[in-house]
């Protein structure tokens, strides 16, 4: 409801209300873009473009209650454009899994042997982030976007379906197969449960 109030104030001419709206959502949109594209600079760019589009088109939004899904729709489209611009084509294939294993091959030994004795390698946020990002890069984009929206943005299946303009069953199916694929990636890299649950 706060969003609706801010939108109404902005439509009456209060630019400060629009800025408050931006500051409420910029962290979420930025982290969403980052998890989709993987590049902090590109994510900042996407975040700015998203809010510029919102600024230009907010007056055309018929239902302010749909602001959240509309915002994510804009961000998702921009992310897709960025990914296609980089000509990334990620599929779950044996070859990709093998490459992922080789890239991640330096991880398992230190982790499996005694993760508690190698904090300098893995047990900080940067490495966890890189590891999960690599794993997400191994699954198809359509599954990845559903997982990111569900796990990190906390959106409901109905909201994700509205954003991506798909049926709810399709979204749940992508989530199911996406999580299954990620589990296989984790197993392929032979990462033990304890290693990822270790906290400093």
């Amino acid at each position: 409801m706060i969003d609706v109030e801010l939108i109404e104030k902005y439509l009456l001419g209060d630019i400060a209300a629009f800025n408050r709206l931006v500051w409420r959502w910029e962290k979420q949109i930025y982290n969403f873009s980052w998890r989709m594209c993987g590049d902090p600079e590109a994510s900042k760019d996407i975040c700015q473009k998203t809010f510029i589009r919102v600024y230009k088109s907010l007056k055309k939004l018929k239902d302010p209650l749909k602001f959240k899904t509309w915002l994510y729709q804009i961000a998702a489209n921009l992310c897709r454009d960025e990914i296609r611009r980089r000509q990334k084509h990620i599929t779950l294939s044996v070859e990709n899994l093998q490459n992922a294993y080789e890239e991640g091959a330096m991880l398992p030994e230190k982790l499996i042997s005694n993760p508690r004795n190698s904090p300098e390698f893995f047990l900080n946020q940067t490495n966890i982030r890189e590891f999960i990002k690599k794993a997400l890069d191994q699954i198809p984009e359509e599954q990845r976007i559903v997982i990111v929206m569900k796990e990190y943005q906390g959106l409901k299946f109905t909201e994700i379906a509205e954003i991506l303009e798909q049926s709810v069953n399709t979204i749940k199916s992508r989530m199911y197969y996406g999580l299954s694929a990620l589990r296989k990636v984790f197993e392929q890299w032979d990462i033990k449960k304890e290693a990822l649950q270790y906290d400093l």
Binding site: N31, F51, F157, L196
Partner: protein, 234 residues
């Protein structure tokens, strides 16, 4: 409920989006089916692993200001409109008119109809009275003042927005600093506690050893003292 049906409901259950009606039946199925229970546990584990990737602050300074002032916007529109003319005929017309008007203004062209007479005057230098009129131009001055006022308002808005952002950032920094300080204090206290425990343990051990030594010594003395008494009696 079959496993096939349960599979479709797995995501709803995992993310707490299941309705009450299906919830009971699904849980009943989980209790009876090890395979589905294991699959759910696997998904839960994967989800928990994914949650290790925390959000980061964006470090952006997005601030929007009002659109252009009416004065500058109208100037901008007019300027853009000028370049949208159809150059094939409009250009000729516009250029021609511009030249004519320029000529009139340069030559201080003046045409008047008075008492049946039509007079036309042209001169390179403006008359004294006209000079005074040109010099006044109150309308342009008013527009300039309005433009300056709007610019000032814009700047004030930007400054206010920037101040609010800085205040917010400062508050967050202080909160983070306080949290970090508290964490370190607890960690230090824990370390001190551990050290005291170790010291206590060591002290007890040494005391025990000392006691054992003393006990041994006392025994020896006790053993040796009856023997010496016997010798004395002999």
């Amino acid at each position: 409920m079959t496993c096939e049906e349960a599979k479709y409901l797995l995501m709803d259950y995992l993310y707490d989006e299941m309705n009450a009606e299906n919830h009971l039946e699904f849980e009943r199925h989980l209790k009876a089916c090890e395979s589905c229970s294991q699959e759910l546990a696997n998904f839960r584990q994967t989800s928990q692993q994914l949650q290790k990737w925390d959000d980061v602050p964006p470090a952006l300074n997005l601030t929007f200001v009002d659109q252009q002032s009416r004065f500058s916007a109208s100037i901008h529109r007019r300027w853009q409109g000028f370049f949208r003319l159809d150059w094939s005929w409009g250009r000729r017309l516009a250029v021609g008119l511009a030249v004519i008007l320029l000529g009139f203004s340069l030559t201080n062209f003046k045409a008047e109809w008075k008492n049946g007479d039509f007079n036309v005057k042209m001169s390179l230098w403006p008359q004294a009275a006209e000079k005074q009129q040109i010099a006044d131009l109150p309308l342009q001055q008013e527009e300039l003042a309005a433009y300056q006022k709007e610019q000032l308002m814009l700047m004030n808005q930007m400054i206010k927005a920037s101040e609010e952002r800085q205040r917010k950032a400062m508050t967050m920094s202080l909160i983070n600093f306080a949290d970090e300080l508290e964490t370190r204090r607890k960690s230090d206290l824990s370390l001190v506690g551990t050290s005291f425990e170790q010291l206590q343990f060591q002290t007890k051990r040494e005391l025990k050893q000392t006691r054992q030594s003393l006990d041994g010594l006392i025994k020896i003395m006790q053993v040796s003292s009856p023997q010496s008494n016997q010798k004395r009696r002999r």
